[in-house]
Protein backbone atom coordinates (compact mmCIF):
# COMPACT_ATOMS: atom_id res chain seq x y z
CA UNK A 1 0.00 0.00 0.00
CA UNK A 2 2.03 2.98 -1.25
CA UNK A 3 -0.11 5.41 0.77
CA UNK A 4 0.83 3.75 4.09
CA UNK A 5 4.50 3.51 3.10
CA UNK A 6 4.49 7.23 2.29
CA UNK A 7 2.92 8.04 5.66
CA UNK A 8 5.45 5.84 7.52
CA UNK A 9 8.34 7.46 5.64
CA UNK A 10 6.93 10.86 6.60
CA UNK A 11 6.70 9.71 10.25
CA UNK A 12 10.35 8.55 10.18
CA UNK A 13 11.38 11.93 8.75
CA UNK A 14 9.52 13.77 11.54
CA UNK A 15 11.21 11.56 14.17
CA UNK A 16 14.61 12.28 12.61
CA UNK A 17 13.88 16.03 12.72
CA UNK A 18 12.68 15.89 16.35
CA UNK A 19 15.76 13.95 17.47
CA UNK A 20 18.17 16.31 15.65
CA UNK A 21 16.47 19.39 17.08
CA UNK A 22 16.40 17.89 20.60
CA UNK A 23 20.14 17.23 20.42
CA UNK A 24 20.82 20.68 18.96
CA UNK A 25 18.79 22.56 21.59
CA UNK A 26 20.35 20.61 24.46
CA UNK A 27 23.78 21.34 23.00
CA UNK A 28 22.91 25.06 22.92
CA UNK A 29 21.92 25.02 26.61
CA UNK A 30 24.96 25.70 28.78
CA UNK A 31 26.39 22.81 30.84
CA UNK A 32 25.22 19.22 31.36
CA UNK A 33 24.63 16.81 34.24
CA UNK A 34 28.37 16.16 34.63
CA UNK A 35 29.18 19.92 34.80
CA UNK A 36 27.37 19.98 38.15
CA UNK A 37 29.59 17.10 39.35
CA UNK A 38 32.69 19.11 38.59
CA UNK A 39 31.67 21.55 41.34
CA UNK A 40 31.71 18.73 43.91
CA UNK A 41 35.20 18.75 45.50
CA UNK A 42 34.80 15.07 46.50
CA UNK A 43 34.81 13.98 42.84
CA UNK A 44 38.12 14.09 41.03
CA UNK A 45 38.16 15.97 37.68
CA UNK A 46 39.64 12.82 36.09
CA UNK A 47 36.56 10.82 37.17
CA UNK A 48 34.25 13.40 35.56
CA UNK A 49 36.37 13.43 32.39
CA UNK A 50 36.30 9.61 32.25
CA UNK A 51 32.48 9.65 32.60
CA UNK A 52 32.20 12.26 29.83
CA UNK A 53 34.36 10.13 27.55
CA UNK A 54 32.44 6.92 28.41
CA UNK A 55 29.08 8.45 27.43
CA UNK A 56 30.49 10.36 24.47
CA UNK A 57 29.68 13.79 25.95
CA UNK A 58 33.15 15.07 25.03
CA UNK A 59 32.42 14.51 21.34
CA UNK A 60 31.11 17.14 18.90
CA UNK A 61 27.35 17.17 18.24
CA UNK A 62 27.32 15.13 14.96
CA UNK A 63 29.40 12.34 16.53
CA UNK A 64 27.29 12.39 19.68
CA UNK A 65 24.12 12.16 17.58
CA UNK A 66 25.49 9.38 15.34
CA UNK A 67 26.52 7.33 18.39
CA UNK A 68 23.07 7.76 19.94
CA UNK A 69 21.33 6.72 16.70
CA UNK A 70 23.57 3.65 16.40
CA UNK A 71 22.89 2.57 19.99
CA UNK A 72 19.15 3.40 19.68
CA UNK A 73 19.00 1.03 16.70
CA UNK A 74 20.19 -1.71 19.09
CA UNK A 75 17.51 -0.74 21.65
CA UNK A 76 19.91 1.18 23.89
CA UNK A 77 18.53 4.71 24.37
CA UNK A 78 21.46 6.04 26.42
CA UNK A 79 22.04 6.41 30.14
CA UNK A 80 20.24 8.38 32.86
CA UNK A 81 22.89 10.11 34.97
CA UNK A 82 20.32 11.23 37.54
CA UNK A 83 18.87 7.71 38.07
CA UNK A 84 22.17 5.91 37.35
CA UNK A 85 20.36 3.42 35.13
CA UNK A 86 19.85 2.80 31.40
CA UNK A 87 17.35 5.38 30.07
CA UNK A 88 15.20 3.01 27.94
CA UNK A 89 13.40 1.06 30.70
CA UNK A 90 12.97 4.22 32.77
CA UNK A 91 11.46 6.26 29.94
CA UNK A 92 9.37 3.36 28.63
CA UNK A 93 7.71 2.77 32.04
CA UNK A 94 6.86 6.47 32.31
CA UNK A 95 5.74 6.65 28.66
CA UNK A 96 3.43 3.68 29.23
CA UNK A 97 1.80 5.50 32.17
CA UNK A 98 1.36 8.63 30.03
CA UNK A 99 -0.10 6.50 27.26
CA UNK A 100 -2.65 4.95 29.66
CA UNK A 101 -3.72 8.41 30.84
CA UNK A 102 -3.82 10.01 27.37
CA UNK A 103 -5.71 7.11 25.80
CA UNK A 104 -8.31 7.08 28.57
CA UNK A 105 -8.72 10.86 28.33
CA UNK A 106 -8.95 10.80 24.52
CA UNK A 107 -11.57 8.04 24.62
CA UNK A 108 -13.60 9.73 27.37
CA UNK A 109 -13.42 13.16 25.72
CA UNK A 110 -14.70 11.85 22.36
CA UNK A 111 -17.35 9.62 23.94
CA UNK A 112 -18.77 12.73 25.63
CA UNK A 113 -18.11 15.20 22.79
CA UNK A 114 -19.86 13.23 20.02
CA UNK A 115 -23.32 12.82 21.62
CA UNK A 116 -23.15 16.31 23.10
CA UNK A 117 -22.15 17.87 19.76
CA UNK A 118 -24.91 15.94 17.96
CA UNK A 119 -27.44 17.09 20.56
CA UNK A 120 -26.45 20.74 20.15
CA UNK A 121 -26.40 20.42 16.34
CA UNK A 122 -29.94 18.98 16.35
CA UNK A 123 -31.04 22.00 18.43
CA UNK A 124 -28.95 24.61 16.62
CA UNK A 125 -30.13 28.14 17.21
CA UNK A 126 -32.33 27.07 20.14
CA UNK A 127 -31.90 27.99 23.79
CA UNK A 128 -30.14 24.69 24.66
CA UNK A 129 -27.59 25.31 21.90
CA UNK A 130 -26.98 28.89 23.04
CA UNK A 131 -26.69 27.88 26.72
CA UNK A 132 -24.30 25.07 25.76
CA UNK A 133 -22.15 27.47 23.71
CA UNK A 134 -21.95 29.86 26.68
CA UNK A 135 -21.02 27.02 29.04
CA UNK A 136 -18.32 25.75 26.69
CA UNK A 137 -16.93 29.27 26.21
CA UNK A 138 -16.65 29.60 29.99
CA UNK A 139 -14.93 26.21 30.23
CA UNK A 140 -12.45 26.95 27.45
CA UNK A 141 -11.39 30.15 29.22
CA UNK A 142 -10.17 28.20 32.27
CA UNK A 143 -6.50 27.21 31.87
CA UNK A 144 -5.70 23.48 32.15
CA UNK A 145 -3.46 24.17 35.13
CA UNK A 146 -6.27 25.89 37.05
CA UNK A 147 -8.69 23.08 36.16
CA UNK A 148 -6.24 20.50 37.50
CA UNK A 149 -5.67 22.52 40.69
CA UNK A 150 -9.42 22.98 41.24
CA UNK A 151 -10.03 19.25 40.85
CA UNK A 152 -7.12 18.50 43.15
CA UNK A 153 -8.57 20.86 45.75
CA UNK A 154 -11.93 19.09 45.40
CA UNK A 155 -10.27 15.70 45.92
CA UNK A 156 -8.33 16.89 48.97
CA UNK A 157 -11.33 18.61 50.57
CA UNK A 158 -13.85 15.84 49.96
CA UNK A 159 -11.44 12.88 50.19
CA UNK A 160 -13.77 11.29 47.63
CA UNK A 161 -10.92 10.43 45.25
CA UNK A 162 -7.17 9.78 45.51
CA UNK A 163 -5.40 13.13 45.16
CA UNK A 164 -2.28 11.90 43.38
CA UNK A 165 -0.20 8.98 42.14
CA UNK A 166 -1.21 5.96 40.09
CA UNK A 167 -1.71 3.26 42.73
CA UNK A 168 -2.30 3.14 46.49
CA UNK A 169 0.82 1.55 48.05
CA UNK A 170 0.20 -2.18 48.49
CA UNK A 171 -2.69 -2.22 46.02
CA UNK A 172 -2.33 -2.57 42.29
CA UNK A 173 -5.79 -3.56 41.09
CA UNK A 174 -7.61 -2.17 38.08
CA UNK A 175 -10.21 -0.48 40.31
CA UNK A 176 -7.48 1.26 42.28
CA UNK A 177 -5.92 2.42 38.98
CA UNK A 178 -9.33 3.63 37.75
CA UNK A 179 -9.90 5.60 40.97
CA UNK A 180 -6.47 7.26 40.62
CA UNK A 181 -7.09 8.01 36.93
CA UNK A 182 -10.44 9.69 37.47
CA UNK A 183 -9.07 13.06 38.55
CA UNK A 184 -6.34 13.53 35.89
CA UNK A 185 -8.68 12.18 33.19
CA UNK A 186 -11.40 14.62 34.32
CA UNK A 187 -8.92 17.52 34.16
CA UNK A 188 -7.84 16.52 30.64
CA UNK A 189 -11.39 15.88 29.40
CA UNK A 190 -12.73 19.19 30.75
CA UNK A 191 -9.85 20.99 29.06
CA UNK A 192 -10.39 19.30 25.69
CA UNK A 193 -14.19 19.11 25.68
CA UNK A 194 -15.08 22.67 24.57
CA UNK A 195 -13.02 22.43 21.38
CA UNK A 196 -14.22 18.92 20.54
CA UNK A 197 -17.92 19.61 21.20
CA UNK A 198 -17.83 22.82 19.17
CA UNK A 199 -16.20 21.05 16.23
CA UNK A 200 -18.65 18.11 16.35
CA UNK A 201 -21.58 20.55 16.58
CA UNK A 202 -20.30 22.69 13.69
CA UNK A 203 -19.52 19.72 11.41
CA UNK A 204 -22.85 17.98 12.06
CA UNK A 205 -24.86 21.23 11.84
CA UNK A 206 -23.33 21.88 8.41
CA UNK A 207 -24.10 18.33 7.28
CA UNK A 208 -27.69 18.66 8.46
CA UNK A 209 -28.13 21.31 5.73
CA UNK A 210 -27.08 18.81 3.03
CA UNK A 211 -29.71 17.78 0.44
CA UNK A 212 -29.32 14.09 1.29
CA UNK A 213 -30.40 14.82 4.87
CA UNK A 214 -33.49 16.62 3.56
CA UNK A 215 -34.10 13.61 1.29
CA UNK A 216 -33.67 11.18 4.21
CA UNK A 217 -36.19 13.24 6.22
CA UNK A 218 -38.57 13.08 3.27
CA UNK A 219 -38.31 9.28 3.38
CA UNK A 220 -39.32 9.19 7.02
CA UNK A 221 -35.93 8.56 8.66
CA UNK A 222 -36.32 9.44 12.37
CA UNK A 223 -34.14 12.17 13.89
CA UNK A 224 -31.93 9.94 16.05
CA UNK A 225 -31.08 7.66 13.13
CA UNK A 226 -30.67 10.69 10.89
CA UNK A 227 -28.08 12.14 13.28
CA UNK A 228 -26.10 8.96 14.03
CA UNK A 229 -26.30 7.02 10.78
CA UNK A 230 -26.59 9.77 8.16
CA UNK A 231 -25.19 13.05 9.50
CA UNK A 232 -22.35 11.82 11.73
CA UNK A 233 -20.56 9.61 9.14
CA UNK A 234 -20.88 12.43 6.60
CA UNK A 235 -19.43 14.92 9.11
CA UNK A 236 -16.69 12.51 10.17
CA UNK A 237 -13.81 13.64 7.92
CA UNK A 238 -12.89 16.88 9.73
CA UNK A 239 -13.59 15.17 13.06
CA UNK A 240 -11.23 12.30 12.31
CA UNK A 241 -8.50 14.82 11.43
CA UNK A 242 -9.33 16.59 14.69
CA UNK A 243 -8.98 13.25 16.49
CA UNK A 244 -5.31 13.07 15.47
CA UNK A 245 -4.83 16.66 16.61
CA UNK A 246 -6.64 15.98 19.90
CA UNK A 247 -4.22 13.15 20.73
CA UNK A 248 -1.37 15.69 20.51
CA UNK A 249 -3.27 18.32 22.50
CA UNK A 250 -4.21 15.85 25.23
CA UNK A 251 -0.64 14.54 25.32
CA UNK A 252 0.75 18.06 25.84
CA UNK A 253 -1.90 18.78 28.48
CA UNK A 254 -1.25 15.45 30.19
CA UNK A 255 2.42 16.34 30.74
CA UNK A 256 1.25 19.36 32.78
CA UNK A 257 -1.57 17.53 34.57
CA UNK A 258 0.82 14.69 35.47
CA UNK A 259 3.12 17.15 37.22
CA UNK A 260 0.23 18.73 39.16
CA UNK A 261 -1.39 15.41 40.08
CA UNK A 262 1.82 13.40 40.64
CA UNK A 263 0.97 10.91 37.89
CA UNK A 264 4.18 8.96 37.25
CA UNK A 265 4.26 9.68 33.52
CA UNK A 266 6.60 11.41 31.11
CA UNK A 267 5.65 14.89 32.40
CA UNK A 268 7.32 14.78 35.84
CA UNK A 269 10.23 12.73 34.41
CA UNK A 270 10.85 15.31 31.68
CA UNK A 271 10.72 18.22 34.14
CA UNK A 272 13.22 16.47 36.44
CA UNK A 273 15.44 15.49 33.51
CA UNK A 274 15.44 19.02 32.02
CA UNK A 275 16.29 20.59 35.39
CA UNK A 276 19.05 18.00 35.97
CA UNK A 277 20.20 18.21 32.30
CA UNK A 278 19.85 14.45 32.08
CA UNK A 279 20.55 14.52 28.32
CA UNK A 280 19.41 11.11 27.12
CA UNK A 281 16.26 11.02 29.28
CA UNK A 282 15.18 14.41 27.86
CA UNK A 283 15.79 13.28 24.29
CA UNK A 284 14.08 9.92 24.81
CA UNK A 285 11.12 11.58 26.57
CA UNK A 286 10.67 14.07 23.74
CA UNK A 287 11.00 11.28 21.18
CA UNK A 288 8.39 9.10 22.90
CA UNK A 289 6.02 12.08 22.96
CA UNK A 290 6.68 12.61 19.24
CA UNK A 291 6.02 8.91 18.56
CA UNK A 292 2.63 9.14 20.35
CA UNK A 293 1.77 12.26 18.40
CA UNK A 294 2.73 10.67 15.08
CA UNK A 295 0.85 7.47 16.00
CA UNK A 296 -2.27 9.54 16.77
CA UNK A 297 -2.10 11.30 13.41
CA UNK A 298 -1.35 8.05 11.59
CA UNK A 299 -4.35 6.43 13.27
CA UNK A 300 -6.48 9.42 12.16
CA UNK A 301 -5.24 8.98 8.56
CA UNK A 302 -6.05 5.25 8.63
CA UNK A 303 -9.50 5.96 10.08
CA UNK A 304 -10.08 8.57 7.38
CA UNK A 305 -9.08 6.04 4.73
CA UNK A 306 -11.50 3.47 6.21
CA UNK A 307 -14.34 5.93 6.82
CA UNK A 308 -14.49 7.79 3.52
CA UNK A 309 -15.35 5.56 0.55
CA UNK A 310 -14.44 8.38 -1.86
CA UNK A 311 -10.81 8.44 -0.67
CA UNK A 312 -10.49 4.68 -1.25
CA UNK A 313 -11.73 4.83 -4.82
CA UNK A 314 -9.87 7.92 -6.02
Amino acid sequence: MPWLIRRLAHAALVLFGVSVLSFAFLELAPGDYLSEMRLDPRIAPETVAALRARHGLDQPLPVKYARWVASAARGDLGFSFAYNTPAAPLVWTRARNTLVLTMAATLAAWLIAIPLGLWFAARRGGWADRAGAAGLAALVSIPDLLLALLLLMFAVRTRALPAGGMFTPGEAGILDLAAHMLLPVAALVLGALPVLVRHVRAAVAETLQAPFIEAARAHGIPTVRLLWRHALPAAANPLISLFGFSVGTLLSASLLVEVVMSWPGLGPLLVEAILARDLFVVIDGVLFSAVFLIAGNLLADVLLYVADPRIRTT
Binding site: P211, F212, A215, A218, H219, P233, A234
Partner: protein
Protein backbone atom coordinates in the same frame (compact mmCIF):
# COMPACT_ATOMS: atom_id res chain seq x y z
CA UNK B 1 -66.11 7.05 -14.60
CA UNK B 2 -64.54 10.17 -13.11
CA UNK B 3 -61.77 9.46 -10.61
CA UNK B 4 -61.75 10.97 -7.13
CA UNK B 5 -58.85 13.32 -6.38
CA UNK B 6 -56.09 11.55 -4.48
CA UNK B 7 -54.56 14.88 -3.53
CA UNK B 8 -56.58 17.87 -2.46
CA UNK B 9 -55.07 21.22 -1.47
CA UNK B 10 -57.14 24.19 -0.28
CA UNK B 11 -55.98 27.75 0.43
CA UNK B 12 -52.38 26.77 1.12
CA UNK B 13 -50.22 29.62 2.42
CA UNK B 14 -46.54 29.47 3.30
CA UNK B 15 -44.63 32.56 4.43
CA UNK B 16 -40.90 32.90 4.93
CA UNK B 17 -39.24 35.58 7.01
CA UNK B 18 -36.93 37.78 5.01
CA UNK B 19 -33.45 38.78 6.20
CA UNK B 20 -33.80 40.50 9.57
CA UNK B 21 -37.16 38.83 10.22
CA UNK B 22 -39.22 42.04 9.98
CA UNK B 23 -40.86 41.29 6.65
CA UNK B 24 -42.29 38.10 5.25
CA UNK B 25 -42.68 36.88 1.71
CA UNK B 26 -45.55 34.63 0.62
CA UNK B 27 -43.99 31.66 -1.16
CA UNK B 28 -47.48 30.15 -1.41
CA UNK B 29 -50.31 32.67 -1.47
CA UNK B 30 -53.42 30.47 -1.37
CA UNK B 31 -52.89 27.38 -3.51
CA UNK B 32 -55.94 25.32 -4.50
CA UNK B 33 -55.14 22.07 -6.28
CA UNK B 34 -56.72 18.67 -6.93
CA UNK B 35 -54.86 15.77 -8.53
CA UNK B 36 -56.91 12.87 -9.82
CA UNK B 37 -56.01 9.38 -8.66
CA UNK B 38 -53.70 7.66 -11.15
CA UNK B 39 -52.94 10.76 -13.19
CA UNK B 40 -49.82 12.84 -13.74
CA UNK B 41 -50.10 16.57 -13.24
CA UNK B 42 -47.22 18.70 -14.44
CA UNK B 43 -46.64 21.91 -12.52
CA UNK B 44 -44.83 24.55 -14.52
CA UNK B 45 -43.76 28.06 -13.65
CA UNK B 46 -40.78 30.32 -13.51
CA UNK B 47 -38.10 29.99 -10.83
CA UNK B 48 -39.17 31.28 -7.43
CA UNK B 49 -42.92 31.00 -8.10
CA UNK B 50 -43.38 28.51 -5.23
CA UNK B 51 -43.29 25.13 -7.02
CA UNK B 52 -40.67 23.57 -4.72
CA UNK B 53 -42.28 25.05 -1.60
CA UNK B 54 -45.54 23.39 -2.62
CA UNK B 55 -43.65 20.10 -3.09
CA UNK B 56 -42.08 20.39 0.38
CA UNK B 57 -45.45 21.14 1.96
CA UNK B 58 -47.07 18.19 0.18
CA UNK B 59 -44.23 15.91 1.34
CA UNK B 60 -44.62 17.15 4.92
CA UNK B 61 -41.16 18.71 5.03
CA UNK B 62 -42.55 22.23 5.50
CA UNK B 63 -45.46 23.20 7.69
CA UNK B 64 -47.88 25.55 5.87
CA UNK B 65 -49.00 28.70 7.69
CA UNK B 66 -52.58 28.28 6.54
CA UNK B 67 -54.72 25.99 4.40
CA UNK B 68 -55.30 22.26 4.23
CA UNK B 69 -53.67 19.31 2.49
CA UNK B 70 -55.29 15.91 2.08
CA UNK B 71 -53.44 13.01 0.48
CA UNK B 72 -54.74 9.44 0.54
CA UNK B 73 -51.70 7.19 0.96
CA UNK B 74 -47.96 7.47 1.24
CA UNK B 75 -46.25 10.49 -0.36
CA UNK B 76 -42.66 10.33 -1.61
CA UNK B 77 -40.49 13.05 -3.10
CA UNK B 78 -37.73 12.78 -5.70
CA UNK B 79 -35.38 15.75 -5.66
CA UNK B 80 -33.73 17.55 -8.58
CA UNK B 81 -30.20 17.07 -7.26
CA UNK B 82 -29.92 13.28 -7.30
CA UNK B 83 -26.22 13.39 -6.46
CA UNK B 84 -26.89 15.59 -3.46
CA UNK B 85 -29.97 13.69 -2.32
CA UNK B 86 -28.12 10.36 -1.99
CA UNK B 87 -25.93 9.83 1.07
CA UNK B 88 -22.38 9.54 -0.36
CA UNK B 89 -21.28 7.34 2.57
CA UNK B 90 -23.90 4.64 1.97
CA UNK B 91 -24.02 1.79 -0.51
CA UNK B 92 -26.71 1.92 -3.20
CA UNK B 93 -28.66 -1.02 -1.76
CA UNK B 94 -28.58 0.49 1.74
CA UNK B 95 -29.86 3.82 0.40
CA UNK B 96 -32.85 2.10 -1.21
CA UNK B 97 -33.38 -0.21 1.78
CA UNK B 98 -33.12 2.52 4.44
CA UNK B 99 -36.83 3.52 4.47
CA UNK B 100 -37.76 -0.19 4.60
CA UNK B 101 -35.36 -0.83 7.50
CA UNK B 102 -36.67 2.18 9.40
CA UNK B 103 -40.26 1.04 8.94
CA UNK B 104 -39.28 -2.54 9.92
CA UNK B 105 -40.32 -4.09 6.62
CA UNK B 106 -39.09 -7.68 6.16
CA UNK B 107 -36.44 -8.64 3.56
CA UNK B 108 -35.41 -5.01 3.13
CA UNK B 109 -32.19 -5.80 1.26
CA UNK B 110 -33.79 -8.26 -1.18
CA UNK B 111 -36.63 -5.81 -1.86
CA UNK B 112 -34.13 -3.00 -2.38
CA UNK B 113 -32.18 -5.06 -4.93
CA UNK B 114 -35.45 -5.89 -6.68
CA UNK B 115 -36.37 -2.18 -6.81
CA UNK B 116 -32.98 -1.42 -8.33
CA UNK B 117 -33.74 -3.90 -11.09
CA UNK B 118 -37.19 -2.36 -11.60
CA UNK B 119 -35.69 1.07 -12.28
CA UNK B 120 -33.12 -0.37 -14.68
CA UNK B 121 -30.10 -0.67 -12.40
CA UNK B 122 -28.28 -3.98 -12.14
CA UNK B 123 -28.60 -5.48 -8.66
CA UNK B 124 -24.88 -6.39 -9.03
CA UNK B 125 -24.19 -2.75 -8.35
CA UNK B 126 -25.86 -2.81 -4.95
CA UNK B 127 -22.56 -2.34 -3.13
CA UNK B 128 -21.49 0.66 -5.20
CA UNK B 129 -21.61 4.16 -3.70
CA UNK B 130 -23.51 7.06 -5.35
CA UNK B 131 -20.37 8.66 -6.80
CA UNK B 132 -19.77 5.48 -8.81
CA UNK B 133 -23.02 6.01 -10.79
CA UNK B 134 -23.73 8.38 -13.68
CA UNK B 135 -26.22 11.27 -13.29
CA UNK B 136 -29.07 9.31 -14.86
CA UNK B 137 -28.30 6.20 -12.79
CA UNK B 138 -28.32 8.29 -9.62
CA UNK B 139 -31.77 9.60 -10.50
CA UNK B 140 -32.91 5.99 -11.06
CA UNK B 141 -31.50 5.14 -7.62
CA UNK B 142 -33.39 8.08 -6.06
CA UNK B 143 -36.52 6.82 -7.82
CA UNK B 144 -35.98 3.28 -6.46
CA UNK B 145 -35.69 4.70 -2.94
CA UNK B 146 -38.87 6.73 -3.42
CA UNK B 147 -40.72 3.60 -4.58
CA UNK B 148 -39.53 1.53 -1.61
CA UNK B 149 -42.41 2.63 0.62
CA UNK B 150 -44.93 1.84 -2.15
CA UNK B 151 -46.24 5.40 -2.40
CA UNK B 152 -49.52 6.28 -4.02
CA UNK B 153 -48.41 9.83 -4.66
CA UNK B 154 -44.99 10.63 -6.12
CA UNK B 155 -43.67 14.19 -6.35
CA UNK B 156 -40.83 14.74 -8.83
CA UNK B 157 -39.29 18.14 -8.16
CA UNK B 158 -37.29 19.05 -11.30
CA UNK B 159 -36.17 15.41 -11.21
CA UNK B 160 -35.09 15.41 -14.87
CA UNK B 161 -33.37 18.80 -14.89
CA UNK B 162 -29.64 18.68 -15.34
CA UNK B 163 -29.75 15.39 -17.27
CA UNK B 164 -28.89 15.28 -20.95
CA UNK B 165 -31.78 14.88 -23.40
CA UNK B 166 -31.38 11.16 -24.12
CA UNK B 167 -31.19 10.33 -20.40
CA UNK B 168 -34.16 12.63 -19.76
CA UNK B 169 -36.12 10.64 -22.36
CA UNK B 170 -35.14 7.30 -20.79
CA UNK B 171 -36.13 8.37 -17.28
CA UNK B 172 -39.36 9.96 -18.54
CA UNK B 173 -40.25 6.61 -20.20
CA UNK B 174 -39.39 4.76 -17.00
CA UNK B 175 -41.65 7.12 -15.04
CA UNK B 176 -44.55 6.52 -17.41
CA UNK B 177 -44.06 2.73 -17.14
CA UNK B 178 -43.90 2.86 -13.35
CA UNK B 179 -46.87 5.15 -13.17
CA UNK B 180 -48.96 2.78 -15.28
CA UNK B 181 -47.77 -0.46 -13.65
CA UNK B 182 -48.14 0.84 -10.09
CA UNK B 183 -51.11 3.14 -10.60
CA UNK B 184 -49.12 6.05 -9.22
CA UNK B 185 -50.40 9.58 -8.98
CA UNK B 186 -47.59 11.96 -9.89
CA UNK B 187 -46.89 15.66 -9.51
CA UNK B 188 -44.20 16.46 -12.05
CA UNK B 189 -42.60 19.82 -11.30
CA UNK B 190 -40.60 21.36 -14.12
CA UNK B 191 -39.84 24.67 -15.78
CA UNK B 192 -39.72 22.99 -19.19
CA UNK B 193 -43.20 23.11 -20.89
CA UNK B 194 -42.17 20.61 -23.59
CA UNK B 195 -41.08 18.05 -21.01
CA UNK B 196 -44.28 18.70 -19.05
CA UNK B 197 -46.34 18.04 -22.17
CA UNK B 198 -44.52 14.76 -22.86
CA UNK B 199 -45.21 13.16 -19.47
CA UNK B 200 -48.35 14.75 -18.05
CA UNK B 201 -52.11 14.17 -18.40
CA UNK B 202 -52.67 17.77 -17.40
CA UNK B 203 -50.53 20.87 -16.85
CA UNK B 204 -51.00 23.44 -14.07
CA UNK B 205 -49.33 26.81 -14.30
CA UNK B 206 -48.07 28.51 -11.16
CA UNK B 207 -47.24 32.18 -10.75
CA UNK B 208 -46.38 34.20 -7.63
CA UNK B 209 -47.48 31.47 -5.22
CA UNK B 210 -50.81 30.66 -6.91
CA UNK B 211 -52.11 28.20 -9.49
CA UNK B 212 -53.21 30.51 -12.29
CA UNK B 213 -54.39 27.99 -14.85
CA UNK B 214 -54.77 24.34 -15.87
CA UNK B 215 -54.69 22.99 -19.38
CA UNK B 216 -54.39 19.75 -21.28
CA UNK B 217 -51.06 19.15 -22.99
CA UNK B 218 -50.96 19.90 -26.72
CA UNK B 219 -50.75 16.65 -28.71
CA UNK B 220 -47.39 16.00 -30.41
Amino acid sequence: MPHEPLVSVRGLVKRYAQRGGRHTVDALAGVDLDITDGSTLALVGESGCGKSTLALCLAGLEQPDAGAIRVDGVVQLVFQDAAGSLNPWMRAVDIVAEPLVVHRRPNARARALDLMEQVGLSSNRGDARPHEFSGGQRQRLALARALAMEPRFLILDEALSGLDLSVQGQIANLLLELQRSRGLTCLFITHDPALAASVADEIAVMRAGRIVGRELPCPG
